[in-house]
């Protein structure tokens, strides 16, 4: 069963006959262009095996790119675009998860690691400073 499922998944991945790059006119404003390009890199294609809508060839990715383009053109901010998409597809589609109780650990974790690491470094240094420095390979 699982073999069939994965074979099917593989077929679905490649089934799209379309290798769609956007061909609509880009924004005249380079700032908007830049925002668009970086935004589509942050949105996950909801149907793919871990690709952003920027790279994915899936039809739904092309549709979502079109929506992002439309929203930016209408003046939406980056956060508004992300909220638009996450309210329809879930926070799953955001590669940069928003800070919320479920993601406090994700965004706070690095600081904890750095703190622990710094502490460990300092402790070891302190211990070694006080030890005799002349020997190599004490028995």
């Amino acid at each position: 069963m699982t073999r069939l499922a994965s074979l099917l998944a593989l077929c679905l991945l490649f089934a799209s006959p379309v290798l769609a790059f956007d061909t609509e006119a880009e924004f005249d404003d380079p700032v908007l262009n830049e925002r668009y390009r970086s935004l589509i890199r942050e949105i996950r294609c909801p149907k793919c095996l871990n690709e952003s809508i920027a790279e994915s060839h899936a039809p739904v990715a092309a549709d979502l790119r079109r929506e992002v383009r439309r929203l930016i053109g209408e003046g939406a901010s980056d956060d508004e675009v992300k909220t638009f998409l996450s309210s329809r597809y879930g926070e799953f589609v955001l590669y940069r998860p928003p800070v919320s109780p479920a993601t406090w650990a994700l965004w706070g974790g690095p600081f904890v690691f750095l703190g622990v690491g710094g502490f460990v470094f300092w402790r070891i240094l302190k211990t070694r400073r006080d030890q005799p420095i002349d020997e190599d390979f004490p028995a």
Partner: protein
């Protein structure tokens, strides 16, 4: 018939692996030389049978034996011979057999090299490797057998995934596996040391050699994967922080840390616990990669067919190997501790910082990769953690680390007067800062502080790495550099080059999508392009639409680019083959999209400055490793050991 021989060979290999794992370890514990002596022959025998099994699989592939399920799933009669052979690692079962085969080769090498080691120690190392082999062969044999038959036999196979029908993709898995699997060797050394309750200078020297070789292959394997993704996948990216990419990167980070920690252990006899833990971590993370790719726990483009049963088995192996080793560590680590001081300003401090920062970086990657699993398991919802998170967070430990490399290289052991350091390096630092800020601004215009910082640090490391070699070359002062030192300078120079490439290619990537008709001229990234049209071409097992673009710089023609869209006959899936023009300073990257009707095609053009530095930098790192591993002191020591192995054996036998 032959596939059945393959199964039989695999079963025999399992038996020998079991012998190799039990007898030598018991022999070492009980002091029985005859049991310990079984290690090398068992390893050799296991190698022979694994080789036979692998040959049997290749035979089935090359003779189009579609009655074997694996061959039917991953090959096809129209597949070019070269890819038929490499289809052996085109799917889960075959790639497990490759894993096992690579481990058998490593084990054989370690067995051969162990002649000069004390028998008790060598038996323990080979014994642990035997346990790993036995576990993996059992996994393959019972849950992922490549020799399973398929009845009724299909007339032809499903064809190898078109993504894998590419020379780059074919070298990448074996090279990566040699590195991945190679982490089992320092792991075995570490466990052997824990079992014995001690770890000496020779241990450190041997461990360092083996670790270096594994590291070189890991570096090459990851680089190949990244380079392949870049030129093959059509969107111009080279790293996506995909769970499977991360699980090849984390062992690399830990092996790098291990290499550096071993330097301290070999020289001063301290940091033993660090070294042992790093060795265990490197191998565990490598096994974790196997788990993540094959259990279905994470979504990834790289994942093989997923199966909770297989996942459970591998988790069991992880519990046995990692859990067992860490349990041993908890019990024995106290015996390994040793005194040895150093001042705040010393090489040891920098290497300690190196260890800590690399562990932190690895921790970040692991945490981000597993976070979706953590929140899902706790019922908190489905989240994705992707490049925006990793790119941001990874720089936190890595930028300081790379900056420190530039300083640490010039420090002395035990204590280093800060004033000497400053005096030696200050002008270099100033120059790096000046160039690092000026060059990006002058060449590219608007910049971000982060980019300037990264470029400055990259230039700093490059200059610092070259300082000693250049100085010796120019002034002919001091003793000639040893290979170890040259290797170090080369590798660290490579780090700087890599970082330069990564920063500039990411920050100044130019990208444009457009629709083009034959005859259209368009401008992109400072170059002019003329689209001449699309025609059909045929390959051995595919049909392609090939576009022809000529591009110019200021009117001068720089060549013709021919991107393709291939449709492989069997799987009917379209594949992009981007056309890339490469030189040292930039890549021009052109990919064909879809036909828009009326002769128009969608096209993606990218100009990527300094992207070549990524591969150049990584290659320099690997080269540096190669130079260092052939250092005279290893070769001299090897010759000396060969002359008097017997004396060493009896001496340590008494300990």
């Amino acid at each position: 018939m032959i596939p059945e021989f393959g199964q039989l060979a695999l079963a025999l290999a399992l038996c020998l692996a079991l012998v190799q794992s039990t007898m030598p370890l018991m022999g070492a514990a009980l002091g029985r030389a005859d049991w310990m002596a079984l290690a090398r022959p068992a390893a050799a025998g296991q190698f022979v049978f694994v080789a036979v099994a692998f040959a049997a699989l290749e035979y089935a592939l090359l003779t189009d034996d579609f009655s074997v399920s694996f061959v039917a799933n991953h090959s096809n009669s129209a597949l070019p011979v070269f890819y038929k052979a490499t289809a052996a690692w085109g799917g889960h079962e075959g790639s497990m057999l490759l894993w096992i085969a690579v481990l058998a080769v490593w084990t054989l090498a370690v067995a051969a090299g162990s002649r000069s080691q004390p028998q008790e120690f060598a038996s323990r190392v080979l014994g642990v490797l035997g346990i790993v082999s036995a576990g993996m062969i059992a996994f393959a044999f019972f849950t992922s057998n490549p020799f399973d038959r398929l009845v009724p036999t299909p007339l032809d196979g499903n064809d190898l995934n078109p993504l894998l029908q590419d020379p780059g993709m074919i070298i990448h898995p074996p090279t990566l596996y040699v590195g991945y699997v190679g982490t089992a060797v320092p792991f075995a050394f570490a466990v052997a040391a824990l079992l014995a309750g001690r770890l000496d200078k020779d241990w450190a020297r041997w461990a360092r050699q083996w670790t270096a070789v594994a590291w070189i292959f890991l570096t090459c394997g990851i680089t190949l994967g990244s380079w392949w993704a870049y030129y093959e996948l059509g969107w111009g990216g080279w790293w996506f922080w995909d769970p499977v990419e991360n699980s090849s990167f984390m062992p690399w980070l830990m092996t790098t840390a291990l290499l550096h920690s071993l330097a301290v252990t070999e020289r001063r006899g301290i940091f033993k616990n660090w070294t042992v833990l790093l060795a265990i971590a490197a191998f565990s993370l490598s096994l974790l990669g196997t788990f993540l790719t094959r259990s279905g726990v994470m979504i990834s483009v790289h994942a093989f067919a997923s199966d909770p049963t297989r996942g459970l088995f591998i988790l069991g192996l992880l519990a046995l190997f990692t859990g067992g080793a860490l349990l041993l560590y908890a019990l024995q680590a106290g015996k390994l501790e040793a005194e040895g001081g150093f001042k705040t300003m010393s090489r040891e401090t920098f290497l300690l910082a190196n260890n800590v920062l690399l562990v932190i970086a690895t921790g970040f990657v692991l945490f981000g990769t597993l976070y979706p699993l953590f929140v899902d398991a706790l019922g908190l919802g489905k989240y994705s953690v992707g490049p925006p998170y990793f790119n941001l967070v990874f720089l936190l430990p890595v930028l300081p680390l790379v900056a420190l490399i530039g300083v640490g290289m010039h420090t002395a052991w035990r204590m280093m007067p800060g004033s000497v350091l400053v005096q030696r390096l200050r002008w270099l630092a100033v120059a790096a800062l000046a160039l690092g800020v000026a060059i990006p601004i002058v060449i590219f215009g608007a910049v971000s502080v982060l980019t300037l910082l990264a470029v400055t640090i990259a230039l700093w490391v490059c200059a610092s790495a070259l300082l000693d070699p250049v100085r010796r070359l120019l002034y002919r002062t001091g003793a000639p550099l040893t290979r170890g030192q040259v290797g170090m300078c080369l590798a660290h120079f490579g780090v700087g080059v890599f970082m330069l490439g990564a920063t500039v290619a990411s920050a100044y990537n130019f990208e444009r999508d457009l629709a083009a008709r034959p005859g259209d001229r368009f401008e992109a990234g400072g170059y002019e392009f003329v689209f001449r049209g699309v025609r059909q071409v045929e390959g051995p097992n595919f049909v392609a639409d090939e576009g022809e673009f000529e591009f110019f710089d200021d009117g001068a023609s720089l060549g013709i680019l021919r991107p393709q869209i291939r449709v492989y006959r069997v799987q009917q899936s379209p594949m992009t083959e981007a056309a890339i023009d490469t030189n040292v300073l930039r890549d021009v990257f052109l990919a064909l999209g879809e036909s828009l009707g009326a002769d128009a095609w969608s096209v993606r053009v990218q100009v990527k400055p300094l992207i070549g530095f990524l591969w150049l930098g990584s290659s320099l790192m690997a080269l540096g490793g190669l130079v260092a591993v052939t250092d005279r002191r290893y070769r001299v020591a090897a010759r000396e050991r060969q002359r008097e192995p017997a004396r060493e054996q009896t001496a340590t036998g008494a300990v």
